[in-house]
Point group: C2
Chain length 190, copies 2
DNA sequence: ATATTTATAGACTAATTAGTCTATATGGAG
DNA sequence: CTCCATATAGACTAATTAGTCTATAAATAT
């Protein structure tokens, strides 16, 4: 067994789900393109839905872990804030499939409960340093969840702009930086 | 014929698509719950995809028309800007199904081309007054499409926050207003 | 070495589903 | 009143698809 079949299945599923959507992708196609048999897929994931959810949680957890590492570093709060933003945007740009998949999942009514719970679970991890920023009057005196929502909205907005633009990498970095200062104009305590 | 069957089909399709997704909703179910026969649905819409796209464009056009009316009013640019934001958020809150459907569609790779073209078409309508705002140094000196993307991101963010919150209508209005001032802090020329 | 668990394969099935086809009905034009 | 186009109905079909079943193979434990 040279390749991990489970990982092959997940990678193939991600690619196909992003191309054709959950329902638009037959399990047989995932299996065949992943180079495994139908039975293997259903051995590892009891149902198709299981696979969809497992893939979502894997991507979200992976991303949340990275953010947590940034937050845990011994930096000044505003530095953390900036780094979390930069990492989020750069991660989305470097992993468009994953970012796309996450959005697709978040807007699938059928999975609303899962995505809501996952978001809530991860937000608890970020809450601490945002609360500190509010307390120290660096951030506007608003609820943590409002700040998180606006933050996510901003990442979403700048991502949409960047994928449609044909700016080269250096230029993109500059745009992301400017987007950060705009975000900060919005968030900072005055 | 007391009710317009086409409208009944669209309304039912919207409800079911939001509940179960495009692929998760059989045409037969749409027809039966709309109280029409299968043949009737396929008489009005040659394919299922036709229905999905027609519904999307109808909702988007309807919304864009409202925004255009606001933009065309003889108001100061900053007033227009605020009104467009307020209307967008309130429209989303008043029509969660439609807003949800739009997002779902926007993140369906299969329809990427359609949604991209529709966005571009509508953006041309908004461009004029944003350009004026930039020229008059009311808005930051950034590309129109960046401003539109961030604007949309902000609407998206505040919507996500508000549907998860249990604030009463009066309180929600207050939150939306604060969200507007935050948006303005971000967008205004300094 | 043997037994047991884990992993893989692929044929098969029962159910579902988009779209077709033919038959009516309804309403307006001449 | 008679045509003809538009609208509606619903049975039917060909294709697709999630999940099952049985058989092995590989790895691990005893």
């Amino acid at each position: 067994m040279e390749v991990n079949k489970q990982e092959k299945i997940q990678a193939t599923a991600l690619r196909l789900f992003v191309a054709d959507g959950f329902h638009g992708t037959p399990t047989a196609k995932i299996a065949s393109e992943a180079g495994v048999a139908n039975g293997t897929l259903f051995y590892h994931y009891k149902t198709k839905e299981d696979l969809v959810v497992a893939l979502y949680n894997k991507i979200k957890d992976e991303h949340a872990e990275n953010l947590q590492a940034i937050i845990n570093r011994e930096d000044f709060i505003t530095t953390k804030f900036k780094n979390v933003f930069l990492h989020s945007v750069n991660w989305a740009l470097a992993n468009p499939d994953k970012f796309y998949y996450i959005q697709q999942f978040n807007f699938s009514p059928h999975f609303a409960k899962v995505s809501h719970e996952t978001l809530a679970r991860h937000t608890r991890g970020y809450a601490g340093f945002i609360e500190e920023g509010i307390r120290k009057k660096l951030l506007k005196q608003q609820p943590v969840s409002l700040i998180v929502s606006m933050f996510n909205g901003h990442v979403y907005g700048i991502y949409q702009y960047l994928i449609a633009s044909d700016a080269d990498p250096t230029e993109k970095e500059k745009i992301i930086n400017e987007a950060y200062y705009m975000l900060w104009d919005m968030m900072k305590y005055m």
